[in-house]
């Protein structure tokens, strides 16, 4: 869509880490292949998801305008970018931010791409990612290149992959931490990124790190792999490790994680994660995505058997020096700080606005005279101008120690206390000094019906309404209420993490006569602290327009009836689900449409409500066997060989064509679980004995001719090619890869492999 995409491709050569540059070239070529009709629809969908390129609401080309569903008349000469997903329909770009860590330069780049390719807003998610909406798929390689040039990748941000590795945003500066989990989160994130053992999952795999068990921190209990820092005395030495929880998850069927081990030594973190990935890839459900998360596998096997299988897998892993080499560089002294410690001067802290802001948005660090400042982002949204302003503030006061949070905010770490009034003033000038971080005002919400294909009700519309109403009386609220958390999801899939909020809501629809009415299911008493220690109780669905009254009524009862020191969770547990429901029963009524049509519209959306815009979920795409990915990559390599013949030279083209054949042969061998060495000679030898001599790789009309192309290419791999020979080799490589596809299909038909 952007006229400058070619310019960025040329301009950023050499500015990106080579592996990221290559990865983006690969993706761009895959897009080109799809446009030529040479890449399957399901494959391009999973391929883009693995680069964080996600579908968005209405991308099937239909939208309900409040009266009827109408076709969105996109140009019709384009392919789809996935099942029922139109090429030109805008989509979402998710950007992985491991442990939420950002620099000032990265903020500026995010600002640039938000305004040039999106709608000027960067959205912080509940997994510390950044999302851009309304992005054209053809712009995504440019976005990726510009991000890669500042060290950010979108790889594996979506799809059946290891998602963004999250960590406590105050790790390293936290007063209750056992130790700083940041280097471990970083090491595991980059170890598993693109790791061959983490490519064949049936669903996503979520990892988090917490520095202690009491606070919310990394929300370990709702993760597939939740690691909590612990230390032990072993052989007279203090030893670092992790209490490891596995198989937790929210979604439609929330399940708390189970204890895998009380102490996983730090040097075992990466290999055990790798072993777990292998077990999940091998035994996890692949066909039914509704039961494909790790939690179902752990339930099915039982934690003891799962533990045994992981241990067995761990024992069989070939050594990898990356498992421990990062430990030598774990920086125990902490992060860089720009300013020396200083004390907050009374005169600087005198204003009421500063005091109110500091009470909720300033966290005194474990390091004396330093604080972490929370920048509250309404609904996780920040403008391009604000990102630039924040970058400037960061440069002025701290040393690139910025993080996103799972509460959809950002934090500036290592602010010298004496600078706090100036930081507040600078944030205020940028519209970023809203108080109330971590309070009932700081409502978290997933995108819901704004942009998500699965959204049923408007989670963001409701969140905005609650924020506005609560903000008007924030400081009159009882302190016990101020400290509650509200989290909202647009559907039962829990992206808003409603299960672990004091007051959680998720979107549902109810019929009233001939009309659909937006509702929210009320979930009460979930526990955010204690690493998401417990999930709330669903007590019933109320019309969307009555949720503000629900908040008032429930919090009113809590203030009025709580026992001394009684937490909200304890209060809800004491009065029970039935009583909670009784409390809300009259609010569940829906007036007739004629009496009050406003009930039949959602917050922030004047259209008559409908669920007709729901689309197929793309959360994980479809499960594509690894061999199909590998064969698609071979096709792309042949395509690249053709390009090289035009631009880069004959030998580069011939080499690429030969490589594609080697990779195709290796893909089939892997699919058959045949062990083989990594050298070309070994691949050729094993391919010959296992696939050609067994006649699995055999064309009914041409017999072994197609495999002979491969053997001939191998034989002449070191020869010098002329243009005609290189051209012929590319043609033969194309035929060989097609034969690989046929062989794979034939193996699937007869149940081999």
């Amino acid at each position: 869509m952007k006229a400058s995409n070619g310019l960025w491709r040329e301009r950023l050569v050499g500015a990106m880490p080579p592996e990221l540059a290559q990865e983006i070239d690969v993706f761009e070529n895959e897009l080109a292949l799809r446009k030529r009709g040479k890449l399957d629809e399901a494959l391009i969908a999973e391929t883009r998801l693995r680069r964080g390129v996600y579908g968005q609401r209405y991308d099937n080309g239909q939208r309900h305008d409040g009266r009827a569903t109408r076709k969105l008349a996109y140009p019709e000469d384009k392919p789809t970018k996935g099942p029922q997903t139109l090429w030109d329909a805008p989509g979402m770009q998710r950007i992985k931010i491991p442990f939420g860590g950002l620099t000032a330069r990265q903020l500026e780049t995010l600002a640039e791409i938000a305004e040039e390719y999106s709608d000027g807003i960067a959205h912080v998610t509940t997994r510390q990612d950044i999302q851009l909406h309304f992005v054209h798929i053809e712009d995504t390689p440019s976005i990726m290149r510009r991000l890669a040039a500042v060290g950010i990748t979108t790889r594996e941000a979506c799809g059946n992959t290891v998602r963004n590795v999250t960590a406590c945003p105050v790790a390293g500066v936290c007063r209750t931490q056992i130790f700083d989990v940041t280097p471990y989160a970083k090491a595991l994130a980059y170890f598993l990124l693109g790791h061959p053992d983490a490519q064949a999952f049936g669903r996503k795999f979520k990892i988090s790190f917490s520095g202690c068990c009491e606070e919310a921190c990394g929300l370990a209990h709702m993760h597939d792999f939740g690691a909590i820092a612990v230390e032990r005395d072993l052989d007279g030495k203090r030893k670092r490790g992790f209490e490891l929880w596995v198989g937790g998850g929210l979604g439609a069927v929330p399940q708390p994680a189970r204890l895998f081990t009380e102490f996983l030594p730090e040097e075992e973190l990466l290999p055990v994660a790798q072993a777990m990935a292998r077990v999940f890839a091998r035994l996890g459900e692949k066909k039914n995505r509704n039961t494909a998360r790790l939690k179902f596998l752990v339930s099915k096997l039982g934690i003891d058997e799962f533990r045994r299988l992981v241990a067995e897998e761990r024992a069989s892993l070939p050594f990898d020096k990356r498992w421990t080499e990062y430990l030598e560089h774990v920086e125990r002294a902490g992060e860089p700080r720009l300013k020396p410690p200083s004390l907050l001067q009374i005169e600087g802290a005198a204003s009421g606005e500063f005091t109110r802001w500091a009470a909720t948005n300033v966290y005194p660090q474990r390091q004396r005279s330093y604080s972490t400042v929370t920048v509250t982002l309404p609904l996780g949204d920040i403008t391009a101008d604000q990102l630039r302003a924040l970058a400037a503030i960061a440069r002025r006061f701290i040393a690139d120690t910025i993080r996103t949070t799972v509460e959809q905010n950002m934090v500036l770490r290592w602010v010298s206390d004496g600078d706090l009034p100036e930081v507040h003033a600078a944030l205020q000038a940028a519209g970023l000094a809203t108080p109330g971080a971590g309070t009932i005002l700081d409502v978290a919400a997933c995108p819901g019906t704004d942009t998500c294909k699965l959204g049923i009700a408007s989670s963001r519309g409701l969140a905005a309404e609650l924020r506005t109403r609560l903000a008007t009386r924030a400081f009159q609220l009882d302190e016990a209420v101020q400290n509650l958390r509200i989290k909202i999801s647009g559907c039962f899939n829990s992206c808003g993490q409603h299960h672990v909020a004091d007051l959680g809501f998720y979107g549902v629809s109810r019929k009233k006569g001939d009309y659909a009415v937006p509702h929210f299911q009320v979930v009460l008493g979930g526990q955010w602290r204690g690493n998401a220690a417990s999930y709330g109780l669903a007590v019933g669905a109320v019309p969307s327009k009555r949720v503000p009254e629900v908040v008032d009524r429930i919090t009113g009862r809590y203030v009025g009836e709580r026992a001394r020191g009684e937490s909200f969770q304890a209060f809800i547990a004491r009065i029970g689900k039935a009583e909670c429901r009784r409390t809300l029963e009259d609010l569940m009524e829906v007036p007739p449409h004629d009496a009050d049509p406003s009930f039949y519209r959602d917050w922030g959306d004047p259209r008559e409500f409908t669920i007709g815009d729901l689309g197929a979920g793309e959360c994980a795409g479809v499960v594509v066997p690894a061999v199909e990915f590998q064969l698609a990559a071979c096709e792309r390599e042949v395509f690249e060989a053709q390009l090289k013949l035009e631009k880069a030279g004959i030998e580069a083209a011939a080499g690429q064509a030969y490589e594609s054949m080697l990779h195709g042969a290796a893909a089939l061998l892997r699919h058959r679980d045949v062990p083989f060495g990594g050298s070309p000679d070994e691949i050729v030898r094993t391919f010959r004995t296992e696939l050609v001599e067994t006649r699995l790789f055999w064309d009914p009309f041409r017999g072994g001719a197609l495999s002979n192309y491969f053997f001939k290419a191998h034989e002449h791999a070191r020869s010098v090619h002329n243009e005609e020979a290189a051209h012929q080799l590319i043609e033969e490589a194309q035929l060989f890869i097609e034969a690989c596809h046929a062989c794979y299909a034939s193996m699937a038909t007869v149940g081999v492999g």
Binding site: K2, W8, D65, L72, E112, G120, G431, T451, R607
Partner: protein
């Protein structure tokens, strides 16, 4: 070639304007296909200080009742490239923005309070740093095309151009019309 021209026309006396009315208005624009672009959806960023306001997302272009810089205005954001000269691309964006302003002024939901006025202030942004780096050179080279495109809008009236923003921002040019 200059593409992706953004034009913002600032509102007069924005204090009394009910900004939330844009939600209903833009939804109707989609229903009635009132623009030449394919209109897709409406997004509300009213909760973001000095933000994009209410955005009518289109395939070829977005329209928004924008509050960037805490200044209310109609913003036209051309996304799809055009096969035309820089001057023609600028003129197209100006025409689309001013046409949308006239239409917004007539929408009953704003009760006559949303006015863009005859002596409006305009801001032109080139939303592409690769095509139009924010430098003096780009400004100088673009100036004739901008002046030529603006002459159609302002006729014989005088106008002045002013480069705005810091180096990290996109090329942004303020246009003040004379009396």
């Amino acid at each position: 070639m200059i593409q992706h021209v953004n034009v913002k026309v600032f509102a007069e006396s924005p204090e009394g304007v009910d900004r939330s009315a844009a939600l209903e208005v833009f939804q109707r624009w989609i229903r009635e296909s009132v623009c030449e672009e394919l209109l897709i959806d409406v997004v509300d960023y009213g909760h973001v200080p000095a933000g994009p306001g209410t955005v009518l997302v289109g395939h070829e272009a977005n329209y928004s009742l924008d509050n960037g810089g805490n200044r209310l205005g109609l913003l036209y954001n051309r996304k799809a490239p055009l096969e035309a000269s820089a001057e023609q691309n600028l003129a197209q964006a100006l025409r689309a923005a001013l046409g949308a302003c006239r239409r917004l002024e007539q929408e009953p939901e704003f009760e006559g309070r949303l006015r863009f006025g005859p002596a409006h202030e305009i801001e032109i942004t080139i939303n592409d740093r690769a095509l139009a780096p924010n430098t003096d050179d780009t400004f100088v080279s673009l100036r004739p095309a901008i002046e030529s495109a603006l002459a159609v809008v302002y006729g014989a009236a005088e106008f002045a151009l002013e480069r705005r923003g810091d180096a990290r921002e996109r090329l942004r040019i303020g246009v003040h019309a004379g009396k």
